[in-house]
Amino acid sequence: MNPLIFTTILMTVLLGTMIVMMSSHWLMIWIGFEMNLLAIIPILMKKYNPRTMEASTKYFLTQATASMLLMMAIIINLMHSGQWTITKVFNPTASIIMTSALAMKLGLTPFHFWVPEVTQGISLTSGLILLTWQKLAPMSILYQISPSINLNILLTMAVLSILVGGWGGLNQTQLRKIMAYSSIAHMGWMTAVLVYNPTLTMLNMLIYIMMTLTMFMLFIHSSSTTTLSLSHTWNKTPLITTLILITLLSMGGLPPLSGFMPKWMIIQELTKNSSIILPTLMAIMALLNLYFYMRLTYSTSLTMFPSTNNMKMKWQFETKRITLLPPLIVMSSLLLPLTPMLSILD
């Protein structure tokens, strides 16, 4: 793509999310979502093969439907409150429709079907933008309307997302689909605590973005999109192999790595609100997630996966230099001792 056009379109994706996060008028938020959607389509279609076109089409259709539902909820809100500001949603119907629309944008169950298919069809870098940056805008709106969200609907979607994210990822060997199901599960964790303490949603979002960014960059560094090609990294860069182990275990939520911090805080917040069965179920279902992360680490770092002998001695081309990787790896694994600092948050 022409570099100037590519920069313009990428900046428009950023501008769209910024408009969503900074606006106080519902119409501007909708415009921000549409701008974001429109501008990310050519980024998803960077390579011109039928698979990326199909993935972009699926993404466009689902997100456009979500924007339509959002507009309907905005108009119902306008009808019942007579104003356009985002304080709270004044009508329960509008709140339910808006929650469903934002759940479609995030990829929560039962609207999760597009996430693995779209993530699989696009390149690793585009998948990275899709699973991290695109989650910021809908989550910021959920944060802003969190006092008026119907708890039953949100918690049902959250728990089902954790279940589907864990269960669906079990049968996958393609790394992008694994990351997609991991994203569904993490979105479930984030929305589960939204009504109780939205700050923890933001904390979880922050740590999730760091971990997903790290994972994708490790995949980009070793140019691997399947478990099989990831299992050859011990030969090329053994350090990356170790870091894959650490980051994957952090994503699974194991102490003493930073991935444990959001899960711990969320379970604590839920039990403070006298729900015990729910966090127990969520923690048990997070084990499903941990299982397929462990399978990745097993085949990559802990054992020498079976391969033909000529795969064990590969040509070394020039190593990709990813500048941001060391700080990201440190942040996605060593942040747990900073948990007492959370008391300074709102």
Partner: protein
């Protein structure tokens, strides 16, 4: 009848939307879009917005739809789909019509039926009055407000349109 003119025009609006959403060939979609544009202009004019209605006719129908019609005419096939040629298209159209009929009956006879969401009659289609505008037409005040208080909206929508053109060119360019 004049008290219900907005309601009738809105029903025709929705029916024509159903007409092109049931996806006949784009030529026929454009035809129905003309009808819906005209009816939409009628709705806006019933609220006193004659400038905006004429804007719909001039820019939307007379500019964008004409260009759309020309490009579709260049790319059309020998036997384009009509509403009655394909079972799926006719089925979707009839389903949309049925839903619209049920909605109209619900709006008109809302006292006898109890549902989840109340429309409370046709009265809710009125615009909300934000202040006493006195002798000025609200519609012209709205246009003036768009270019003064709403400068940010103009910038954002202008940028969206520009990026829309860039995106479409990029997507259709191919390798």
């Amino acid at each position: 009848m004049m008290t219900y003119i907005v309601f009738i025009l809105s029903v025709i609006f929705v029916v024509s939307f159903v007409g092109f959403s049931s996806k006949p060939s784009p030529i026929y979609g454009g035809l129905v879009l003309i009808v819906s544009g005209g009816v939409g202009c009628g709705i806006i004019m019933s609220f006193g917005g004659s400038f905006l209605g004429l804007m719909v006719f001039l820019i939307y129908l007379g500019g964008m739809l004409v260009v759309f019609g020309y490009t579709t005419a260049m790319a059309t096939e020998q036997y384009p789909e009509v509403w009655v040629s394909n079972t799926t298209v006719m089925g979707v159209f009839l389903l949309g019509l049925l839903m619209e009929v049920m909605l109209v009956l619900y709006v008109l006879k809302s006292e006898e039926v109890g549902v989840v969401f109340k429309f409370s009659g046709v009265g809710d289609w009125a615009i909300y009055d934000t202040g006493d505008s006195g002798v000025f037409s609200e519609e012209i005040m709205g246009v003036a407000a768009l270019y003064s208080y709403g400068a940010w909206v103009v910038i954002v929508t202008g940028w969206s349109l520009l990026v829309g053109v860039l995106v479409i060119l990029e997507v259709t360019r191919g390798d």
